[in-house]
Amino acid sequence: MTTFDTIHDDPIASRHGQRAGRRFSLPQFIRRLPMGLALSWLVLAIAFLWAVAPWLFTSYNPLEGVGGEQLRRPDASHLLGTDALGRDLYARIVYGAVHSLTGAFVAVALGLVVGTSIGVIAGSVRRRVDDAIMRLVDVLLSIPPLMLSLSIIILLGFGTVNAAIAVGVTSVARFARLSRSEVVRVRRSDYVEAAFGSGGTFAAVLWRHVLPNSLTSVLAIAALQFGSAVLQISTLGFLGYGAPPPTPEWGLLIAEGRNYISTAWWLTTAPGVIVVLVVLAANRVSQSFGKVAA
């Protein structure tokens, strides 16, 4: 089609009507109730503060319990009760933030950097190399991700960072596929051709145009992946591959607290709710990012 585009549509209708009308009814919802987004940011901000300055939030020692104080119900002195060793659960959650958040961050960063590099290379090079790389990505996808994670943990040894690496590896394929398709999409655009047409070298065009324009949606996915990484690390804890004690990593708290579910429900419920809140907040914020980018 070489004739008219849809530019003759009324611009306001096309710019606002279509987007706000149906496609983004959720943000519309948030905009009408900006509390949702504000709350999400608040949750993330608190989690971040917990990670950098946990001592501001609690005076209890998260690692050392008090004999005789074990398995206390939540009350005024122990907001969320205590665990089997008499350690304050709230303090453990606060001090655990740094482990969980760095874990998730490392996992996402690994998937993002490695996966995106693979995807960008695949999307930029000639078809044959692209095919070969994408077959390898297929291979990565075809191995059950959990098995891959467990194998990597066994190889690297237990620990927050190693668990994060194990989780991150499983998202490499996903990031690779996404970034490749984005790169391919961007490469087909007129402005990339125009950049070549105005004498751009391959590297220059890749750096100036292809990368910045293809990474937007990759970054939106990265924010989503952040929440998912917290969950995956916690699943590893459940399967007995979590960080070594007494690390108060959130996933581990949920996983270990589950044994007390009928006697001390707060041990698994409190960290569970925290994780749900943080993941929800991360999702909500990532959606709002996606909107801005779109």
Partner: protein, 546 residues
Amino acid sequence: MTTKLKRLALTLATLTASGLFLPGAFAEGAGDPVKGGTLIYLEQQAHTNLYPPAGGFYPNGGILNQITDKLTYQNPKTLEIEPWIAESWTVNADATEYTFKIRPGVTFSDGTPLDAAAVAKNYDVFGLGNKALKQPVSEVINNYERSEVADSQTVKFYFKKPSPGFLQGTSVIGSGLVAASTLALPFEQLGDATKIIGSGPFVVDSETIGKELNLKAREEYAWGPAKLDHQGRAHLDGIKYIITGEDSVRIGALLAGQADFIRQVQAYDEKQVEAQDYQIYAPSTRGVNNSVVFRPDNPLVADVRVRRALLHATDAKEIVTTLFSANYPQATSIIASTALGYRDISAKLAFDPEKAKALLDEAGWTVGANGLRQKDGKELVLTAYESLPQPQNKETLQLVAQQWGKLGVKLTVLAGDSGSRIVDDLDPLKTPVSPAMVGRADPDVIKSQYYPKNRDVLRQKGGQSDKVQSFADDKLNGLLEALTSEPDREKRFAIAGEVQDYVVDQAYAIPIFEEPQAFAGAPYVQGIAFEAVGRPSFYSTWLADH
């Protein structure tokens, strides 16, 4: 805890401690045994291998104890050895020759007779192993030489050296008798329960590997231990073992009425079980106590003063009161107070942080800037892997770590995968500290635990690990050898006491508590019995109306 509960728990503790778990002990007032019904038994882990000497692993033993009979029966109350498949026996003076008279008319479930030849065949395998079939030697049999079938009902065993523990050894789960067809299978095929042919009151009916095992009662069974009240076939029609790994699911299912009997009840769940009038069973394992042992080959713990300091820095009482219940008595020796040959050496185990500090100072370990003890530029940082089968071991080790931390000693607790754990556990440099326990109602158990050719918990040179540089304690090994070959009972017990003193004097081990096997059962489950080290026997069990 309400006073009522406290009293109940106390009673239970006394019962456990005095080994009062007799068949029918809880049947009081419940009327006559009811025949029939299937017991639903929730097991934490799947069985791994049903080669009888592998019965020390609780899931294995819990099955083997129902489907196999033993030559002798150890009375859990008196710990005396009583007749079972063997009607009578004689032992020569230096315990190198044992002669057993076999009860006539006993058959395996495949119809083959359990006679002297069958018994001889079993013990030849247990005592010598079978390389071709990869069947290993049983740890309860020491110095075995050969068997001799005198006649169809008489079998005689010869030993290279005195083997006084052998008689008790014939009563343990690891000595369950199986048919020739089972012994002919290579070791790896013995994971299949349907291939295990025994003579016990139950036979394997069907199995879903890793999930479920169904036993059914053997109608013609008529050769239970002679001194039991209950004779003839089992009361139950069958037992359904269901593997349920989640602690919360096992306990929840029991209390919700979906299961009748469960193994591995954690101390923190005891209260809610009792609150609903369900029964906690915590038979003692009567063996080496739940302890923390050192690997002196590691230079950090090579100095006895360091080990002794850590022993005095460990507050076993705090651990027991924080994490456990009255069913878990604080240790007073390296073996349980209900074990044979026990000697109370609690005075040597006292919690004394001041003494600990002094010992460390004396050994040259001074507190550095970061609060950790150091010497010659090295910090006193130790590592231990948690042991999954031991109750709340991760929590126990964390408490130990807390206690040692107050002295400036760091204990890192690892929860590794099985591969790393096993590989690292063989290397004293990587795991200078390790949790340890083993159950068996004979002083031989101490040798099982410490002897380099057996479990070798201290990791001596020439033992299980080729990573050990130099450590070996000949005095300890000599004592252990004497312990297993001293035919005289009193002298044996004296040696056992000496070993206990020696191990604690050397501070090779820090005993913490006497480990029971904790089970829970619905109120209508009657007649639960346990063999001497806490594996359940469902032979006399019955289900009251409910």
